[in-house]
Every structure is written in structure tokens, then in C-alpha cells.
């Protein structure tokens, strides 16, 4: 037990909840510390420091379920909170599927170091943080005389939690994260003030890119948008840059949840072991990636995470099954959420992919839009670059793409070799053929 006082409080809350009449309970107790800095026009724009706590209870009593959270951890306050939480649960309708997970689903081994906690975190002093933000801003401003405004940012955080279940689970986790980067807005004649950002996020402070690289990349991205305009509607090849590709893949992941299936809100219902995407698409959920943003041994229900291939060469291999909806569907729970989402990466870089396109659009970000997990319909706004004969011709904006997730992923024709490192979804640049674009 690494954090005794927290574990003791969680244990007490568990016992008190049972004493109040609950049959089973899961207690999570967490605390976090965050510091955020913004730097603009050579001075501090904002400094924010905070420490916070949270306790949450999942209560199961006579097959009835409710969930409650509070940040007021004074014992007297907690007592009333727990008493009322248990009392109110009794008004609900009994539901035979409401129980804690079967203990056999809890992780057996949690000893491996996932490298998600930087032991140097405590040694970082506030002036160091300010210096990074200041250096990013300076690097950004030095990059161009077309900058209207740039704001550099640095933040770091430490998060600890303990989870205790009355049927025998005890899990702890501890992590750090560090983010730094900038946003830049640049001049573009009379036609607007294009802006973009570049932020890197890492688990270890030493892994942050240099302030110069961060500032320069933000400005480079904003400048690239100068002169943006829409082009004719039509079907074009689309390359989606790695950092934006998660938006598309989420259209497949979200309807894989057991809740979507059970509630008949999934266009993937009945598609297990069927081909739903092109051979190029293999999606792997890997909870044990070192330094991964979603690396963990157990999920929010205490269920052991596992390495799993979700889509294998275009074939749907798994649904994401949580405890409750798994029971409702009669399926064995396997953890209802994805962790670090990886792909079977290809061998071409983004530049090489672009070189291979005669006429197409490189999408650098999505703006607005939505997708319908029941039917697969989607439509998103896009910002990017027009590609002709393998080169970027001009910036494009104010266009939409549309389609349906049932067929769209069959149009995937290439996966890049460039997993995006600053997210738990390590997407590569993706190329799709014949995508419906609307513009002029």
C-alpha cells in the first residue's frame, strides 16, 4: 500500500456504506495537483494552481444501483453523504444485472512499471515552468513578422487514486503529465486571422520537445493557413493528418460499446467477425504501452485491462464490454473502454502519402460536425490543404465531408508510418479514396 491514509479513508467509506445498508460498494478516492501557466506579450497572462480531491461511491443495494461523488471529504459531511446516498438508492427499481464485477475479472498482477509517473515531478519549481512558457513565446514571436498574437502555455499535473471494492478489489494508480506549446494567430489580408496551435503532452518532463520546436511549429501551422479558401464540391482523395485522425476512428470505436449494442444504437450491431473496413485497418487496444496516456492495469470498474486486437485487417473482432451491459447481453465483460489505441502502421510518411496524390485534400483539422452511431451517417467541417500532382497548392477551409461509417472505412487506402505521440490515440496519417467533399 503506497498511500496509507488515502487507503484508510477509502476503506472507512466502504465499511460505512455497507453499515448503512448497502450490499456492495466500490469506492474511488482521488487527488490531483495542477499548475497552468500562460505567457503572452512577454509577460505572464495567467497562473493557476490547484489541488483537488474527489470521492465517489458506486452503491449496489438489493440489486439497485446509484453513483455519487463529492469533493467535501470532512468525515461528518461524508457520513451524511453516504447515509443519504444509500437511502435514496432504495427508491430505484431492482435490476438483476446490477452487481460489482466478478472478482475473477480483477487484475492479478499490477507490478510492472508503466512509466507513467515522473519521480522528478516534485523537483520542478514554478520559475522553471515560467521559463519554459517564456521561451516558447519568444521562439514563436521570432518565427514571423505576420503574427497578431501568440499565447504560450505550460501545465503539469499529478494524479493519484485508490479504488476499493467490497468484494475484494484494491487498486492504486499514480501518474504525472506535462503539456507545453502555443497558439498563434497570423495576418491574412482582409480575409480573416487564421490561427493554429501546437501542444505536446508527455508523462515525463524530460520528454517535452524543446521550447523552440514547440513555438515554431505553432506559428508554422498558422502561417500555412494563410490564403485559405474553399474549392468546388466533388469526390477527392483525402489524407487526414495523424493528430486529427482520432475524430474519424472514434466513429468506429464508439458504436463498439456494449451499451450501444444493447441499446440498439450501433451500426456495428451484428457485425462481429465481419468485414467493416479495408484490409489496411488494424486497431489494437494496448493498455501496457510505456508512458502511454491511457496505460493502466484496470478500468474504471476495476476490470483488468488487456491487450486486444479490436479490428484485424478490416474485420471486427471485439466489442468493448463493461460489466453491466455485458451481463445484460450475456457476454463476458472485457473492459468497456479502449485505452491506448494503436494501429498497424504503414511504411509511408505523410510527405510520401501526399506525393502519391494527383488531386486531393490534406485535412489538418476538423471543425464541428458529428456522427450518428445508430446509422453510421457523418458529416464534419474541415480545414486543410489542396493537393495537386503530389504537392500542396493552397490552404482550404469552409468545406464539409460526408459519408456513412458502414462503408467509409472500406475507402481507407493507406496508413502512414507516423503515430501521433501526444495522445492515447496514436493515430497515423490516413488516406481515403473518393471522399464526398462539399464546398463551392
Amino acid at each position: 500500500m503506497k498511500n496509507k491514509s488515502k487507503a484508510d479513508l477509502a476503506q472507512w467509506a466502504m465499511e460505512y456504506t455497507i453499515k448503512c445498508g448497502a450490499d456492495e460498494v466500490a469506492v474511488s478516492l482521488s487527488n490531483s495537483r495542477e499548475i497552468e501557466i500562460e505567457f503572452r506579450e512577454q509577460k505572464l497572462e495567467k497562473v493557476k494552481e490547484s489541488t483537488q480531491n474527489a470521492l465517489s461511491l458506486n452503491i449496489y443495494t438489493q440489486k439497485r444501483f446509484s453513483s455519487h461523488s463529492t469533493n467535501d471529504l470532512r468525515k461528518d459531511a461524508l457520513k451524511s453523504f453516504i447515509e443519504e446516498a444509500v437511502a435514496s438508492t432504495k427508491y430505484l427499481t431492482a435490476d438483476e444485472f446490477r452487481t460489482l464485477p466478478d472478482p475473477k475479472l480483477y487484475p492479478k498482477d499490477m507490478e510492472k512499471d508503466l512509466h507513467i509517473f515522473d519521480n522528478g515531478y516534485d523537483k520542478i519549481e514554478s520559475p522553471d515552468r515560467v521559463k519554459i512558457a517564456q521561451a516558447i513565446e519568444a521562439a514563436a514571436m521570432a518565427q514571423s513578422d505576420q503574427i497578431i498574437s501568440t499565447t504560450a502555455g505550460y501545465s503539469d499535473g499529478m494524479y493519484e487514486s485508490v479504488k476499493v471494492h467490497s468484494n475484494g478489489f484494491l487498486g492504486e494508480s499514480r501518474s504525472t503529465s506535462f503539456w507545453a506549446g502555443a497558439e498563434a494567430t497570423v495576418k491574412d489580408g482582409d480575409s480573416g486571422r487564421p490561427a493554429d496551435w501546437f501542444y505536446a503532452g508527455v508523462r515525463y518532463h524530460a520528454d517535452l520537445p524543446s521550447p523552440a520546436a514547440l513555438g515554431q511549429e505553432a506559428v508554422k501551422r498558422a502561417l500555412r493557413k494563410v490564403g485559405q479558401r474553399k474549392i468546388n464540391s466533388g469526390r477527392y482523395t483525402m489524407i487526414v493528418e495523424n493528430r486529427s485522425a482520432a475524430r474519424l476512428l472514434n466513429m468506429l470505436i464508439s458504436p463498439m460499446s456494449a451499451r450501444s449494442i444493447q441499446q440498439k444504437r450501433s451500426f456495428l450491431d451484428g457485425m462481429l467477425d465481419q468485414k467493416i473496413a479495408s484490409d489496411k485497418l488494424t486497431i489494437i487496444d494496448d493498455p501496457f504501452v510505456e508512458k502511454g496516456f491511457s496505460s493502466r492495469f484496470f478500468d474504471s470498474e476495476g476490470i483488468a485491462t488487456r491487450h486486444r486486437v479490436i479490428i484485424e485487417k478490416g474485420v471486427l473482432r471485439q466489442y468493448l464490454i463493461d460489466n453491466y451491459y455485458g451481463r445484460k447481453l450475456g457476454l463476458e465483460p472485457n473492459s468497456g473502454s479502449a485505452t491506448n489505441v494503436m494501429l498497424d502502421y504503414g511504411d509511408q510518411s505523410l510527405d510520401e502519402l501526399i506525393k502519391g496524390v494527383d488531386k486531393g485534400i490534406l485535412v489538418t483539422s476538423f471543425i464541428g460536425g458529428n456522427s450518428n452511431s445508430t446509422t453510421g451517417d457523418f458529416s464534419f467541417g474541415i480545414v486543410g490543404q489542396f493537393i495537386e500532382n503530389g504537392t500542396l497548392v493552397h490552404a482550404v477551409n469552409e468545406m464539409n465531408i460526408s459519408g456513412n461509417g458502414k462503408s467509409f472505412f472500406n475507402q481507407l487506402s493507406a496508413v502512414g508510418n507516423d503515430p501521433y505521440p501526444y495522445s492515447s490515440w496514436r493515430m497515423a496519417s490516413l488516406q481515403f479514396d473518393d471522399v464526398e467533399f462539399s464546398g463551392l
Binding site: 497572462e45 495567467k46 497562473v47 493557476k48 494552481e49 490547484s50 439497485r64 444501483f65 446509484s66 453513483s67 461523488s69 463529492t70 469533493n71 467535501d72 471529504l73 459531511a77 453523504f81 443519504e84 446516498a85 435514496s88 427508491y91 430505484l92 446490477r98 497578431i148 502555455g153 501545465s155 503539456w179 506549446g181 494567430t185 491574412d188 480573416g192 486571422r193 490561427a195 501542444y199 503532452g201 485559405q228 474553399k230 464540391s233 466533388g234 441499446q263 440498439k264 444504437r265 471543425i367 464541428g368 460536425g369 458529428n370 445508430t374 446509422t375 457523418f378 464534419f380 467541417g381 480545414v383 469552409e398 464539409n400 465531408i401 460526408s402 464526398e436 467533399f437 462539399s438 463551392l440
Partner: protein, 516 residues
């Protein structure tokens, strides 16, 4: 953790992600009625808020002394106690309840336009002074401002309700969900799934500033909604409807309950016949009501003065210039009775108001918080809002709407040769600098030669803010405010908002669709 994605400006509908409960919150138990009746003797009520948070003027001013000890020129304290409750019906049973309790104080110190911020979840003298010293460090000199004696600033109540949520037990709410569920299945045999949810919350806030303002507010919120899925010949469609506002349970009358059930079913089964429009630019008619999302994205965010102070908004150089036809007047208003985005007082202690963004076609005023109103040397517009005591206030919208115009809905629809009528929306987003904005049309109709023809669904619309304002060519006289549960996100902070519009015609805008 601040993540770059969360900095984007967006709006979304519905209660997804809302945490809530089934309790009579213990901390309101002592004296709920007193907290609730903010009308009456102001001083006595202020004392009640002091007692509730366990503070008094002396302690507040001691904390302010610490906050200003490094040379800050202003500070404020924002005490908040909020309880949210949520119950849900799924597969015919009310089988889930959630609650959340949030308690703390945020301490902000300003030095010019620089901000130091800290908060604590323990409202004790020691914890508050410690947080104050942290926030104080935005400045690096010695104290030169003394906190003023606190004087109560009173304000009208724009959201009177009959029954405070603290007095409504879970068993009183359950029948609403069961009634709606039964009606939804009765209304159409094609319905196969129905989810009903009831969310409510109450926040008590107390704000004190070093300039001597002290004020408080009691903020109720209620939401009742349905999502349903229907099936026809193997095809499934899903849609929903909800009503939300700064309301008490009395708002959910039998008529409103029936409306929620009927609308959700009608809107779902209508999608069976829906098609995708042709891709590209076309005339778009926006139905009265939630089409106000156009204003929220096309102009509202761009008029938030923090963006203009930094010169990063496409509207930064357009104040006092014509931006639209003379019949276009757009306001952002915190005073609409019981509407979701209304506020009695903003989160910096300033009175709310009705602010004219565009007045008869001329761009008139930004939405200000303290920092921007000082920067522009104008009076605050009561637009400084924050998600909670954990967050710094920023200029935000409240209820954003367009006043009625000279045309009629019939005239507008008849005038369209080939276009789209947009009726129901789920979300939108804007790029402040470039002015690109989008909104997602869940359902609508094609218009051909002045007649509504086929229904359409799942279409994103994208345009440019200033261009679309110019392209508003007709405005009808049938104004409606939307009553759905809209939430606006900006820099990682969410606040409830609403919006409204009369039927409006935009001469051309890009519609996501298919290419023939």
C-alpha cells in the same frame, strides 16, 4: 489537465456527461427555504450566505489582504456550493441515480490584465489564506491596494421558481420518467428503445471583491429529456428531445411532459424517410428557435471581448461598422425569465443585462468581463462567467438571439428555389480568427420551388461568420427562444446557454451532402 483540444469553442445539446443525484443534499438541509428566498431582506440573506460558507466580512477581508500582498490591484473571492442530481430510465425501469456535490472557493488576483488564480475545497481561514498567497504571486511587489468595506449589491431575480429542488425527493421525480416512457412506446409501435432522464441542480454562490462589492445568488436548473430509437424494415433511427431551464419541478406540467414524449417520437420516426442533400452552396432557411445556434457560432463567440482584446477575432476591427442588413438586430441577454442562459448577476458580481451585439445592422458591443472592460474602458456587460469556483471568469454568452424582422415564414419558404430548411441541431463550433463556423443539422427538409419536399438528416453546415451575417436576406416575425439544454464550451469551461431566432433566410452557405 489542460489539453489543447479543450480550448476549442463549441456548443452541444443534451445532458451527456452531466453528473447528478437522488438526494436531499445534506448541506442545504439546515435552512433550504431561507437560501431559496433571495427576495426580501437583503442583509439578512447575506448573513445566511456568510453562515452557509462559514465566513464573515472580517475573514474575507483578511483573505483579500493576503491576496493583494504582492501588489495585485484587484482580487475577488467566489464561493460556490452546488449539488447536481440525475436519474435515468432505461429498458422500462428507473434503474440509475447519480449525484455530485461540489464545494469550494476560488481566489483571483489581477494585476492589469494578468491573472493569478487558486482555489481550495476547504473553506477554512488557513486554506483560504494559503490559496490567496498562491494567487497573489501574479504580482511581485508589495501591497498597494486595501480591500474596501463590503457593501451588498442587490439584483432582481430572473428565475423565480415555486419549489426548490432540495425539497423534491427522488420518489417525486420517478413518475415523470415512467409516464414519458409509457407515452413514447404508445405513440409509435416502431419505437424499440427509450431512455428518459431527469437532471436538476442547485448552486449557491457568494462573490466578494476588493472594491467592496458583495453579492450572492441561488441558481436552480432543471432538465427532462428523452432519447429514443425506432426500427422499420431493419433500419434504425435515433433522436430525442428535452426541455431545460432555470426552472423548478412545476415547469414539468402534464402538457410539457406530453410534449417531450411526442416531440422525441415524431423527430425519430421522421428520419426513416430522410435523404442527404446535394453537396455544396445553397440557400438555407433556419427555422425559428434552436436555429439561434447560427448566431452563437457565427457572431457570438467572435464578440467575446477577450478574443478582441488579443486581436484574434475576425470581429476585432468591426465595432460601429455595418455588418448586416438594417433589419438584423442581435442581442445577448441574461434577463429572460427562467431561460437556461439567464443569470441574475455574473460571476464577477456585475449585474446582468441585455447587450446589443448588432443593432439595426451595425456592430455595437462586445461581451465584456472585468479585464476586457478595463482594457476598452467601457462599462462591464455582465458577461464574466465561469464553470465553477475552479475556473477563472471569461466573457461568455448568456441567451443569444435575433429580434423579429419584417418578413413571414411563408414568404421566406416560397422565395427559395433550391435549398434546405434546417430545423433541429445537435452541436456547432467556430474558429474565432478565420471566422469559419459550423453547425450540425440533425433534421430538416429540402425546399424546391418554394415547397418543402423530402426530409434530410445528419448534415453539417459550414460558413464564415461575417459573410453569413451579410447574407442574411430575410428575417421573419415568428421569433422563438429554444428551451433545450444547450451547453457552451470555451477554453475547457462549460456554461449553460440558450439562444433563439425568428425564421431566417441565408442566401448561400455550404451544406455537407453528396455529389451527383
Amino acid at each position: 489537465m489542460s489539453h489543447p483540444i479543450s480550448r476549442r469553442e463549441f456548443i452541444r445539446k443534451g445532458s451527456k456527461g452531466m453528473i447528478a443525484t437522488a438526494l436531499i443534499p445534506y448541506f442545504f438541509k439546515a435552512d433550504p427555504i431561507h437560501a431559496f428566498t433571495i427576495a426580501g431582506d437583503g442583509a439578512q440573506n447575506l448573513q445566511h450566505y456568510y453562515n452557509h460558507f462559514g465566513v464573515d466580512e472580517k475573514l474575507i477581508r483578511q483573505v483579500m489582504d493576503e491576496a493583494l500582498s504582492r501588489g495585485g490591484d484587484y482580487c475577488d473571492l467566489y464561493f460556490e456550493h452546488k449539488v447536481s442530481q440525475h436519474i435515468g430510465l432505461e429498458d422500462n425501469d428507473v434503474n440509475r441515480a447519480y449525484s455530485n456535490v461540489d464545494f469550494g472557493v476560488g481566489i483571483r488576483v489581477l494585476k492589469g490584465d494578468q491573472t493569478g488564480y487558486s482555489f481550495t475545497e476547504e473553506i477554512t481561514p488557513k486554506a483560504m489564506k494559503q490559496a490567496a498567497r498562491t494567487a497573489a504571486n501574479i504580482a511581485n511587489g508589495s501591497a498597494n491596494v486595501t480591500p474596501q468595506e463590503l457593501k451588498l449589491r442587490e439584483h432582481p431575480n430572473y428565475y423565480p421558481i415555486k419549489t426548490p429542488w432540495e425539497m423534491v425527493k427522488i420518489d417525486a421525480k420517478i413518475p415523470y420518467l415512467q409516464t414519458i416512457n409509457s407515452r413514447v412506446f404508445e405513440l409509435d409501435p416502431r419505437v424499440i428503445k427509450c431512455n428518459v432522464y431527469f437532471s436538476n441542480g442547485t448552486a449557491m454562490i457568494l462573490i466578494a471583491t476588493s472594491e467592496g462589492v458583495v453579492t450572492f445568488d441561488y441558481k436552480p436548473m432543471g432538465q427532462l429529456g428523452v432519447s429514443c430509437t425506432a426500427e422499420q424494415n431493419g433500419q434504425r433511427e435515433q433522436n430525442g428531445f428535452n426541455l431545460s431551464g432555470r426552472r423548478g419541478i412545476e415547469f414539468f406540467t402534464p402538457e410539457n411532459v406530453e410534449r417531450i414524449a411526442t416531440e422525441s417520437v415524431t423527430r425519430t420516426v421522421a428520419l426513416f424517410d430522410a435523404v442527404k442533400p446535394e453537396a455544396g452552396e445553397m440557400e438555407v432557411v433556419l427555422s425559428a428557435g434552436s436555429s439561434g445556434i447560427l448566431l452563437h457560432e457565427a457572431i457570438g463567440h467572435g464578440m467575446e471581448a477577450d478574443f478582441n482584446r488579443k486581436q484574434v477575432s475576425i470581429f476585432s476591427d468591426k465595432i460601429n461598422k455595418p455588418v448586416a442588413e438594417k433589419f438584423v438586430t442581435i442581442v445577448d441577454d441574461g434577463t429572460n425569465p427562467n431561460i437556461r442562459g439567464s443569470i441574475n448577476v455574473d460571476d464577477e458580481g456585475n449585474p446582468t443585462q441585455k447587450t446589443y451585439l448588432v443593432n439595426n445592422g451595425i456592430l455595437e458591443s462586445y461581451l465584456h468581463d472585468r479585464i476586457s472592460s478595463q482594457y476598452y474602458n467601457v462599462a462591464p456587460t455582465g458577461s464574466g462567467r465561469r464553470q465553477s469556483f475552479r475556473h477563472v471568469p471569461m466573457p461568455r454568452m448568456r441567451n443569444t438571439y435575433m429580434l423579429p424582422g419584417p418578413h413571414t415564414r411563408d414568404e421566406i419558404i416560397k422565395s427559395v428555389k433550391n435549398g434546405l430548411l434546417a430545423e433541429d441541431f445537435t452541436n456547432g463550433q467556430v474558429a474565432i480568427g478565420a471566422g469559419d463556423f459550423t453547425f450540425y443539422v440533425k433534421s430538416g427538409y429540402l425546399i424546391q420551388n418554394g415547397e418543402l419536399t423530402k426530409p434530410v438528416k445528419d448534415v453539417n453546415i459550414i460558413g464564415n461568420g461575417p459573410q453569413v451575417l451579410k447574407d442574411i436576406v430575410m428575417v421573419a416575425n415568428d421569433f422563438e427562444m429554444t428551451e433545450g439544454g444547450w451547453t457552451c464550451g470555451k477554453n475547457g469551461q462549460s456554461v449553460p446557454v440558450s439562444m433563439g431566432l425568428p425564421t431566417v433566410k441565408v442566401s448561400k452557405i455550404t451544406v455537407g451532402g453528396v455529389n451527383s
